[in-house]
Subunit: 369 residues, 2 copies
């Protein structure tokens, strides 16, 4: 009896997992976290109208979801000034990134990203045999010029840029993105990950003609809309590219309850405005807590704050370990020199109170080694 015959590519892949989830950590620790501030979830939660819509949809879940997410795409198109044919809805940005990489990348193809940017994108590129070329961050920002130069040099099919960035929370003004698009090498597609852009200050969100074939934008209900567990992302791009997803996507892959929740969330503009206030307040509070402890918050355009712990990665990792031991779930950048920071997600005051209480001791114990 032999086992299955895997592809050569799969045989070469490591059994890596981009992220260890907080539930896995809780099982390993043997107790739950008291504050959940590590995964850039949004502890303020979804719109009450979205919650009500999801609860109401539970009884209708015997029906498959609409395979083309029509009503949601119509609402999103109205919001973005495009047509539904410019939008594909998928199982979170993670799912859409997987589809996009599958559409473009075959073994050996070059892809450019920043060293320390979103690991799940890298996971998908490796999973389809692409070759990643990474450029360093510049002053805690992703570096458009370096990305472009590397794309030119390697003939990259894809360039990944998140604006605002994760894990640093920094952002480029829209003019920088516009200039980057103008300077893209022929045949290079910019993946503009805008997971956090609804929470950014004015002047960050790019203005891109929907039919521009040089860029695809990724959006999500996981961050500003507080629906990470619903798995609803969408991509905006030129119609031929968007249509190509239909060749490979899991057509009936969307949860019907999530579709109903996303539709209600996108229509609740009051909650969206309130969320910007809530997140801005939490960003300021996290920055305050950092400064009270002699640390430096990096200005954030997202629902998290990277806090510079002032020393090297080993020290920040020790701080993270101590916070975890104090039941506060946070994460940190993987790559130097960004790994001098810990990354703290916005959340309600009660959770930030726990952070404030735990941080001084964590820093003291980390400093002692």
């Amino acid at each position: 009896m032999t086992g299955p015959r895997y592809t050569r590519l799969v045989q070469s892949l490591p059994a890596t997992v981009p992220f260890v989830g907080p539930e896995t950590q809780e099982r390993e620790r043997g107790r739950p976290f008291a504050a959940r501030l590590g995964a850039n979830e949004n502890g303020f939660g979804p719109s009450p109208r979205a919650i009500a819509a999801m609860a109401a949809a539970a009884g209708e879940v015997w029906k498959y979801g609409d395979s083309v997410s029509y009503d949601l795409r119509v609402a999103l198109a109205a919001r973005h000034g495009c047509t539904p044919e410019h939008i594909v809805v998928g199982e979170g940005i993670d799912g859409l990134l997987g589809y996009l990489v599958r559409l473009l990348i075959e073994p050996g193809d070059a892809v450019v990203t920043s060293d320390g940017a979103y690991p799940t994108f890298n996971y998908h590129v490796a999973g389809f045999g692409g070759v990643l070329h990474k450029v360093p961050y510049l002053n805690d920002h992703e570096d458009p010029d370096a990305l472009l130069a590397m794309a030119e040099k390697t003939g990259a099919k894809l360039i990944y840029l998140a604006n605002p960035d994760n894990p640093m929370g920094t952002a480029h003004p829209r003019a920088v993105i516009a200039s980057m698009i103008e300077r893209l090498p022929e045949g290079a597609l910019l993946v503009l990950d805008e997971a956090y852009v609804e929470l950014a200050p004015d002047g960050i969100e790019a203005e891109i003609a929907p039919d521009d074939p040089r860029v695809i934008r990724m959006r999500t209900f996981s961050k500003a809309h507080g629906m990470a567990g619903a798995r609803v992302g969408y991509a905006i791009g030129a119609r031929p590219l968007i249509q190509s997803f239909d060749k490979i996507r899991n057509h009936f892959g969307m949860c019907r309850i999530s579709q109903a929740g996303a539709l209600a969330a996108i229509e609740d503009r009051t909650w969206q405005a309130y969320m910007r206030l809530l997140v801005d307040g939490a960003r300021k509070r996290i920055a305050e807590i950092a400064r009270e402890n002699g640390l430096t918050p990096i200005p954030s355009a997202t629902n998290f704050v990277a806090v510079d712990c002032g020393r090297d990665g080993a020290f920040a990792r020790a701080v993270l370990r101590e916070l975890t031991a104090a039941d506060v779930f946070v994460r940190m950048p993987f790559v130097a020199p960004q790994d001098r920071c810990i990354r703290i997600s916005c959340g309600p005051d009660a959770e930030l109170d726990l952070l404030a209480a735990a941080l001084p001791g964590a820093l003291a114990r980390a400093a002692k080694g």
Copy 2:
């Protein structure tokens, strides 16, 4: 400005969609269906406990789902007499079939299935460049001997068999499956799609050692559990094969609400027993309606009944068209000679009443041509 550079494989793929959803048909028709009996959904709906669990989880959807679906896998392992390491949870059987094909199939690899069996499996095989070899049904059953012979001849890496079968609803006794596994060619993996098996008579559900490396079983919450829109499927197989999914799957792809609903559903054995009665009653009612109209119901081990319309595919398609025009959503097999049938999903009496009312006229109009 050029567009993206797709892979050679993607360029060769047609823009096919395995199924057109009922919502799409409703938009094209300009009015809703009155009876939704076409997609093998389960109109009796999920366990009330599952509904309550999903409604309660809606407020917690700001959290990502557990990336390893731990609690659900523990409950499923207890049910199936295996360990959680023998189980992977994914975005419906459709999602898991896509992952499985990606693990094993590279361009040119042979795959064997029955002509007219599940189109979404074929879609995934084509999507990864596999070469499909199809064998005919035998007396409205999938034909294990023919599948094995074709696998031997082509060196197939994968053999697909659904037991019970869709779209015919027929089933093989477990001894036939056991014998088939014993006779598998070296290096061929049997994909045993058991989407409907909880609704089958005794003696159908296969007994397979969890660590048997020759077979992977596919299960779902979409049919017996009435949760098609939640997108929860799982695969049971040998640990190395199950672990290999971690190399490529969308780790945070599961909806948190769906996870909560599935856990409640698997624990509600009262509802499961009730569902078997409800579905059996609906099967009998559909068979009765068929016979009253001079048609022949094919004995079903599933939550649908294939009804032999007694003539050719063109006639059955005309019946289908007339039923659709009468606001009754049904589907039919795609391939001759099975396409002499229409396929009617089980549902509550109110929906079957509409079918009973519409069928005589539909048959009469179809007969007139």
